[in-house]
Structures are given as C-alpha cells and as structure tokens.
Symmetry: C3
Subunit: 249 residues, 3 copies
C-alpha cells in the first residue's frame, strides 16, 4: 500500500483534476486518502482552478469505504478521526467556489456515491452505476442524504437510499442527476472537455452562480446541515463500517 | 356498506400491508375508513413493521373521497371531523419511521393521490394513473400540495395540481415520482416483493435515513406544515366536497 | 423602434394573454418593454384573468436583453433603472395569483429563460430551446437562479446555468421543467387551449393552490429572495450587459 498515490491534483489552465488513486482497490476510501484529497483540492483552488474535475484512477470512480482497512486488528490510527475528516471533505466540496465536474466511470458506491452527488455536474457512463447501498447493510449514509436533500428532493432520497439499488447512467439521466450519459470509454475525455470549456468562460458567472445558489439556503455554511444529517433516532446505536460487497458491472 | 372491512392490516415478518378495503367503491374514502387506516398503521408499527405496503383491495388503489357519502341528508356523523381526521392520518404517514411502499393499481385520484405521494416508494402500473384533479372541481388539495412541496418541487405542484391531469405510470416514472413502472397485473406482487426485500435489510439504515431526511426540514414535526397547506387567500370561502367523476382507464 | 408595441394584453373570458412584442428583435428586452409588461399584467389581473398566457409575437418567445440597446452612447435613460424594474416584474410574477402558462416558441434565452422558468406551466416546441447562457458570457443570472432554486432544485441550477447550454423541448420535458412538448407549429395553439381549459375550472382551486404553494416557503413575499439571488462574492465586481450572440435553431 505504501507506493499508492492515494490522491493527487493535476493543474491545467484555469481548471484542475482531483484524482482518487488507489486503483488496485478501485479507489476505495481510507483516512489518509481523504487527507490527501483535501490537500489536493486546496492546492487546485489556490492555483485559481475555476473548474475541478473529480475522477478516479484506473477506470473506476470509487467503490466506497475500504472496509478491510477499517477492520484491521489493531485498528489503523486514522480510523478514530475518519468520520470528522470525511465530513470536513464534504464541507470543502460544499464551500468550493469552483464548479465541480465528476466523471462517473464504472461505479460510485456508498461513500463514492456521496462525492458524485456532491458534484455540480455529473457525467456518467452508460454502463456505470451509482449505488447508495448503505441501507442494505444496515448503515446510515449521512453524506449521501445531506447532498440529496440539499441538491435534489426527498423523492430522490427515497428512491436511491431506501431501495439501495444500482442506478445506471441512463437512469441517472432520467432522474436529472446526471448532465450527460456517454459511452463508458468516453466518460473521462467527455468530462475533461466539459471542464476545459467551462474554465474558458470569462468573468465570474460560474462563481457568482454557485455563491448565490448556496446563499439562498437552506444549508448556510454547511456545518450544521452535514452534522444534522448524521443524527439518528434515540433507539438506534452507533454503526461501524463492516465488510461490504463491492459491486462490479 | 355494513360488511365492508374499510381498512385492515396484514402483518408479515418484519413488514406489513395496510389495505384500503371498500372495493365496490374502488376504495373511496369515508371517515370511518380513515379511523381504521390509522389504527391499522399503528398496529403494524407496534409489531415492528419496518416496511409498510400501502395498497387497495380489488385492483384499484383509491378513487378519492366518496362524495356520495359526504353528501347524504342528514349528513353522516363523521363528516364534521373528517378534515381533522384526514390530516392526522397524513401526519401519521409523515412521522412513520417505517419505509412506506405504495402499490398504485389502476388509479390514485385526489385524496388517493395524496397517499401515493406521501409514500416513500411508489410502484405504478403502466396503465395506472395518478390524478390530483381537485382544481378542475374548484377545490383545493392541501394534502397533495403539502406532500409535493415537501418531497418534490414547485414544478411538480404546478404540473400535477394546476393541470389536474391524469399522469400515467410512465409519466410518473419520467418525473421521478415512481420508482418502478410495471405491467398492471404485476403491480401488487412487485410491490410486495420489494417490501419483503427491504424488510430483510439488517440494522437501522432505513429508519435512520427517514429520520434524518425529515430532520433536515423544512416541515419539522409536520403539524404546522400540513396545517398551513390548508390556508387560502382571504377572499376565498370554504369548500365542501361535492360529486366528482371517478375516472376509469 | 417607435411603432413597436413592446408588450400588450389580450383579455379573454377568464384568461388573458401577456405578449412580448418586439418581433423584429425576437422580443429582446428593453426597459420600456418591462414597464409595459408590468402594466399589461396588472390590467389582466384587474379584469379577473385566472390564467395568464405569457408569449412572444412573431414566432419566438424571447431572446434575452437587447444588448445593443443597453450599450448606446449616450446610454438610454431607462438603463439606470433597469435592474430594479426587471426584478419588480419578477416579483409581480412571483406574487401573481393567476396560473401562468408560457408558450416557449423557438427560444427563451437568458432573461427570456427566466420568464419561462418563472411560469407555472411551460409548453415547449420540439425544436425550441431554453438557454441560461449568462455564465458563458461571464455574467450572473440572478432571476434564473431565483426561480430554479425556488421551483426546481440545485441540480437544475447546475445543469442549466453552469453548463450554459441549450436545452431543447424534449430535454425540458425529461427534466420535468416543461409540462408538454409539441410540434413547433402547435406551441401557441396548444398553450392557448390549455389556458382556456384551466380558466373554465370552477371555484378557487387554482388560486388556492398557488397561494398555499408559496405560503409554504421558502421565499416569503419574494422581496428578500429575489434580492439575495443578486448577491455575489466579495471579490467579484459589478457586471454590465454586453453584446451577446442570439442563438437560432
């Protein structure tokens, strides 16, 4: 695992790529990777990226939390801070002044789905799928819920989260969650071209739009919104990540 | 009318069916039926149903208020309390911790539509339709409005409620209001199978999702939300249910 | 320009048409036209129009602000008050008790799009398009944003406004933004027939629905909502309308 990049940034002219990079694990998430994602996003913004392309290395977007890594004995040192760290990355995305494009190759599962749903413009492969599968594992999915409630509707929460199903590209398009659905081999190039096009827009239209979009509510600075999405009924105990099946298409 | 069941519950392993049962009237609503619906829902929840399948007996979901029964001379004793009773049933649905699946067979008209729209996951027949037809009769439709504003968007309120049209299964699917559209003869079995599948999900994912979904607003405990949905402009008088045409496909 | 009607009202039985009329400029917006639109809308409401059909003369709906007219030397006297005037017209639409139907012929661009998105029921031609293209010109689009945030969702803001693309009739239908998509030659007659049908609905169903729809929030009397939609990040300067390309299909 030591030679994995985990995550990195590629700066282009006015836009940048934010890349999940654990391809051997289909970019499954671990604590140090989220730290690197936050750093890479900050570096892109510091270099004035107006558009951020969020994508995964190796042909998949993200297969969710790496449950094996969460369940070692003894536990990895980053496990105890993971939930805070993870929410802070979502707050970074929520507050990001740049337009976020997501290239959904192959799959966006659970935690991976939440990053796709937190992006502004989703490009999905025809055979790719998004799955908020936590409910089928008995788990909550607060970041997915926070984004769907903010950006879509309760009907979308119900359909994606309570059914825990796979929603493939064409379904995401029908539901208005994906901007474009393209052949699987074209997802990345299509998303890159879109990002480049948007980065060439003059002036401040994109940033002003995102600013006012969030200003009109209901999530304010995001802190309370994302935190409350984690609340649970009084009779429900804490949940710990456990082994999950990583889907394949 | 005396041998009608009105409504009843069927408890399964971890899930239950909440059944409207006035099949000779296509499950048109009357006061005592709403009382029974509330009792049956409470009994299912008391037996730990994690998923509730809401459906009608006899091949139709619900044809709305039974206008004949609302207009007898003298009036039936339950008429005066109906509006409060009806809103309280919607508050029960709003606060229901279980996932609610609705089997939309044949039609869900007016009051029937409001129960379908208040459900989490709607399964519709290809030839079935949902119609919020009150506006065409000069009437408000506060429960439909409350649900659409909470769960969908103003565009959906406008399209469903101001046009007063029939929206068939495929249209409900396009609009993201129905999870699945299936052949008419398969609606019930499909909805039952889905309910059974969801009831087998371990742990508390479903209940936590519904909890946080509602916690994030905007309707709070629902009381004020559903009550305000009934408010009308100062120059508009009260409305009394009158004879309506029950559509057929 | 002196013999242009700019805008006018046609009163029918219970409904009326609100017509943009600068056909030689594809109904591009100038200050005096917005003044006339406000007057014509008020006159229709004063004559008890329950349904308003918003449309353009000459086969196009509206091509946005008339940038040439905004950039004369010396500036036209109405330029300095335009933004207030324009927002006030949107407040009129927001507060309009009548149901607003919009006939989207040929195109609804930028400012034109905001009127289409502020209407309750949108009828679009198969080859017609709606484009919120301001971001591609470096400009904000606060009225479009205010309506999409109020009536649709953040996903719609992102897709329509950040991509700055043309969305043709069938796409507007898929996204739930258009009620009907019809052949281009039928848009006007279809929208007129719909308006006439709705105007015949008895009683107060339509007006009560719109009243409660807006009462449930989040925009209150609209004043603060539309004003805040114009706010921008601290580091972004003012924007002045400049020459834009008017699309054609």
């Amino acid at each position: 695992m030591s030679d994995e990049k985990l995550a990195y940034a590629i700066q282009h002219d006015g836009w940048g790529e934010l890349v999940l990079s654990r391809p051997a694990r289909r970019n499954a998430l671990i604590g140090p990777m989220v730290v690197k994602l936050r750093e890479a996003l900050a570096s892109l913004l510091a270099q004035n990226s107006r558009v951020i392309l969020l994508r995964g290395d190796g042909g998949s977007f993200c297969s969710g939390l790496d449950v094996d890594a969460f369940n070692t004995t003894p536990p990895q040192p980053w496990v105890k801070d993971f939930q805070d760290n993870w929410m802070n990355f979502h707050l970074d995305l929520y507050r990001c002044p740049a337009t976020i494009v997501c290239a959904l190759e192959r799959h966006a599962i659970n935690g991976g789905a939440s990053m796709a749903l937190g992006s502004d413009l989703l490009i999905a492969g025809q055979g790719a799928f998004l799955m908020v599968g936590e409910a089928a594992q008995g788990a909550p999915a607060p970041m997915n819920l926070a984004w769907l409630k903010l950006r879509a509707s309760e009907t979308m929460i119900a359909q994606l989260m309570l059914s825990a199903r796979r929603f493939h590209g064409p379904e995401l398009h029908r539901l208005g969650l994906a901007l474009d659905v393209v052949p699987d081999v074209d997802v990345l190039s299509h998303a890159q071209k879109l990002s480049e096009t948007l980065a060439k827009f003059p002036g401040s239209g994109l940033v002003s739009t995102k600013y006012a979009m969030r200003l009109l509510g209901p999530a304010g600075d995001g802190e309370d919104w994302f935190r409350r999405a984690k609340e649970k009924p009084a009779n429900v105990g804490d949940w710990t990540p456990q082994r999950q099946r990583v889907g394949s298409t």
